[in-house]
């Protein structure tokens, strides 16, 4: 198919057919990652700049691995090593990068809308690797891929997103994508960690985890940041974990064969019990593996878009 999008800023840009196409492509690239020699030449000669203005282990390495396995040249830039720390504006930094003629810039930034801001100013593809509290489309796609791998399809399944919804780009993108793919989504968090206008998201919201978890097929835990306690949004981590830590006994109230996800990095004992994180119901490492498959698919779709059109 001809890929219609220049940039990937959020899953809200994608139609259901687009999302299905990405998951289908990810499946086709999965096989490459199990070969003894994990490299194919389909993006040879393409260059991808990985511009991460925020710390990242999984996403950055995953894009790097994905690009290299497709033979693209990947270049890493971090905020601390960029002229941003000298006071250069984001606009000037990315225009400088574009002048080096990359085929794509993968960017993570701490400000919501930063990916859209640069996409409006750059000719190359922009892939959002997380912007502020706004969106993390590749995480949502890899989560959907992970669940699809487990279930065959997410249609009709119920997914609980648990934890700091208000400040989570992962939650925002997952609510949109999972709903688009036909899953039923519900949320559970203390009110201090919910967006003010969450009622407009049209999904059930719970404050009692034992009630929220009842009958669900998957629980997606989110990372709790200590700064939320410092900002007065929570009494302390101990109380948070009493109310909202996902545990094996709580999982027993979910549907049979229910699974647990977490985008990482995890705080064992805060948002997910350590034994559950390591249990067979945990898909945390499957998510990491899916991340490479999905990002290979995305790089392929976005970097060969022009050739396809021509």
């Amino acid at each position: 198919m001809t890929w219609p999008h220049k940039d990937l800023l959020d899953v809200s840009q994608l139609s259901r057919a687009d999302a299905v196409e990405i998951l289908r492509a990810a499946k086709s690239f999965q096989e490459i990652n199990s070969r003894p020699v994990k490299k194919v030449p389909i993006l040879k000669g393409k260059s991808v700049i990985l511009f991460f203005a925020e710390p990242s282990t999984r996403t950055k390495t995953s894009f790097d691995v994905a690009g290299k396995r497709l033979s693209a040249d990947t270049f890493s830039l971090q905020k601390s090593g960029s002229s941003l720390v000298k006071g250069e504006s984001l606009k000037d930094t990315v225009l400088t990068l574009q002048a080096m003629k990359p085929d794509a810039i993968v960017m993570r930034h701490n400000m919501s809308g930063a990916a859209q801001f640069i996409a409006e100013r750059l000719e190359c593809a922009v892939i959002n690797a997380g912007d502020g509290w706004h969106a993390h489309p590749t995480q949502a796609l890899l989560d959907a891929f992970t669940l699809t791998e487990r279930w065959g399809d997410v249609q009709g399944k119920t997914v609980l997103i648990l934890g700091d919804i208000a400040h989570s780009r992962v939650a925002r993108s997952n609510v949109r994508l999972l709903t688009l793919l036909g899953a039923k989504v519900r949320l559970c968090a203390p009110k201090t960690l919910l967006p003010y206008a969450v009622s407009n998201w049209n999904v059930p919201v719970f404050s009692d985890l034992d009630e929220a978890v009842r009958g669900v097929d998957a629980i997606m835990c989110l990372r709790l940041q200590l700064e939320r306690q410092q900002a007065g949004l929570l009494p302390d981590v101990r109380e948070y974990s009493r109310r909202f830590c996902m545990t094996i006994p709580r999982l027993s109230k979910a549907a049979k064969h229910a699974v647990v996800l977490h985008p990482g990095p995890i705080n064992r004992g805060w948002e997910i019990a350590s034994d559950l994180a390591d249990a067979h119901e945990s898909l945390i490492l499957d998510q990491v593996a899916s991340g490479v498959d999905v990002r290979m698919a995305l790089l392929h779709l976005y970097l060969t878009r022009k050739e396809r059109k021509e």
């Binding site: 504006s89 984001l90 606009k91 930034h109 400000m111 919501s112 809308g113 930063a114 859209q116 801001f117 912007d131 502020g132 509290w133 706004h134 969106a135 780009r169 925002r172 967006p195 003010y196 206008a197 969450v198 407009n200 998201w201």
Partner: protein
């Protein structure tokens, strides 16, 4: 009686467009406003044909940021007053958050000197002095000195005073001097100046929102203090229904509060931020349609006394950043009357309320020159073409601040002439 030296012929009054009038002016003051042709034209008088145009008293803007001294790349007193003249303003009150802050007479005097030199024929500049030294909210500014230098009000605008005890003392001290206090109503703990309303749009965009309660709580504090102390407070740039409700209750009890809102709150909602458009980032933020309706009703019934632009110019590169990084503010002097006249044309606001809110009430509240078209009033007036259409572009604005979400939008209604004390400051339509 003096002989008229200027006659404006065949104008229509903004709030009574069927009536054609002639305005006689002598030595910078109104001599008479009479039905067209009812009084002979003196041969020696300059005559202006105003047929097809509306005649309004000059507009007063009690809330602008002129950025000088300190941030002249955004605006200067000269460019800001030029923008004010183009917008139809004859009186302009500029806020104290310059660099250095206007908290001493020498700064006030410098501002007035620059205004007199760049715009000797007006618009007139009336500086607002700082309420606290450096706007830091710790020590009262030397208000008597600032008054003597020419300040017409005091305000901590931009950095609201969170310490209620200090704010109370500032109100008492200012009232001794007979000078009103303007408060920027924002609980700085509840409502960080994020530039977007807390609601559906902020939740979707992943931006921290500014709750309307953060404004209304401070409005309530101010209303209670005004009532308790019996001293006036003017509430700046009110943006929400919740605040309007509080002000209405306070006024009903007789609290000496007055309030203003701005054109952008009347025609835009937080949906203008949907694309992370930093030109729509303003503090307080654009709210909802429900808030708009409440503000319009409050203007109509006088709960909101005045309109003000909160003209806040910024350089293009300062706004060309991600939303969170961009400074708050909309450049508003030149679009203000066209935008609000559009509300009149659509029947959402009466012409009477518009004239009251732009011309009469702000001048009354701050004891500034006021033209009611009575004999002896200052001949401050504008001629406005209600049918002229123009498109807002960076090139069409004389302000250095091109930061408006209205860029590219066609507006109806254009200021053709601005007279300050009988002198045309625009010189576009005068004939002799």
């Amino acid at each position: 009686m003096s002989q008229a030296d200027l006659v404006v012929r065949s104008a229509a009054l903004a709030d009574n467009p069927q009536a054609s009038v002639d305005l006689f002016v002598a030595k910078g003051r109104v001599l008479a406003l009479v039905p067209t042709g009812s009084r002979p034209l003196p041969e020696s008088a300059k005559s202006v044909d105003a047929s097809g145009l509306l005649l309004l008293p000059g507009l007063t803007d009690v809330h602008v940021h002129l950025r000088e001294p300190g941030q002249e790349w955004k605006e200067t007193i000269a460019t800001g007053l030029a923008a004010a003249a183009k917008g139809g303003f004859v009186n302009v009150m500029c806020m104290a958050n310059t660099d250095p802050v206007n908290d001493q007479a020498s700064i006030t005097e410098t501002m007035l000197d620059k205004a007199a030199r760049s715009h000797p024929k007006g618009p007139r500049l009336f500086p607002v002095g700082a309420l606290t030294v450096g706007l830091e909210g710790k020590t009262l500014a030397p208000m008597e000195e600032l008054k003597a230098a020419g300040c017409k009000a005091f305000s901590n605008d931009g950095r609201p005073v969170a310490d209620t005890e200090l704010f109370r003392r500032a109100l008492e001290y200012a009232s001794d001097l007979g000078i009103p206090v303007i408060d920027h109503c924002e609980d700085p703990h509840l409502a960080p100046a994020s530039g977007i309303n807390e609601g559906v749009v902020s939740a979707r965009l992943g931006l921290r929102g500014h709750p309307c309660a953060g404004e209304a709580i401070q409005v309530a504090r101010d209303c209670l203090l005004a009532e308790y102390l019996g001293v006036p407070i003017h509430l700046a740039h009110i943006s929400s229904k919740m605040s309007v409700d509080v002000i209405r209750q306070a006024k009903a009890k007789g609290a000496p509060v007055t309030a203003e809102t701005c054109p952008h709150y009347l025609i835009l909602t937080d949906e203008a931020c949907e694309t992370y458009d930093t030109n729509a980032k303003v503090n307080p933020p654009l709210r909802t349609r429900e808030d708009q309706r409440a503000l319009l009703a409050a203007l109509e019934d006088g709960t909101i006394d005045a309109l003000a632009t909160d003209h806040a110019p910024h350089a293009a590169h300062e706004k060309e950043t991600p939303f969170d990084e961009a400074p708050n503010g909309i450049s508003g002097l030149e679009t203000a009357l066209s935008v609000t006249w559009g509300l009149v044309a659509r029947g959402e606001l009466s012409a009477k309320a518009l004239v009251s809110a732009w011309c009469v009430r702000p001048a009354e509240i701050f004891a500034l020159p006021l033209n009611r078209f009575q004999e002896g009033d200052p001949a401050d007036f504008i001629l406005f073409d209600p049918a002229a259409r123009w498109t807002v572009t960076a090139q069409s604005l004389v302000s250095k601040g091109k930061n408006t979400p209205l860029l590219g939008r066609e507006l109806t209604g254009l200021v053709k002439s601005v007279y300050v004390a009988g002198k045309n400051t625009l010189l576009t339509r005068e004939s002799s």
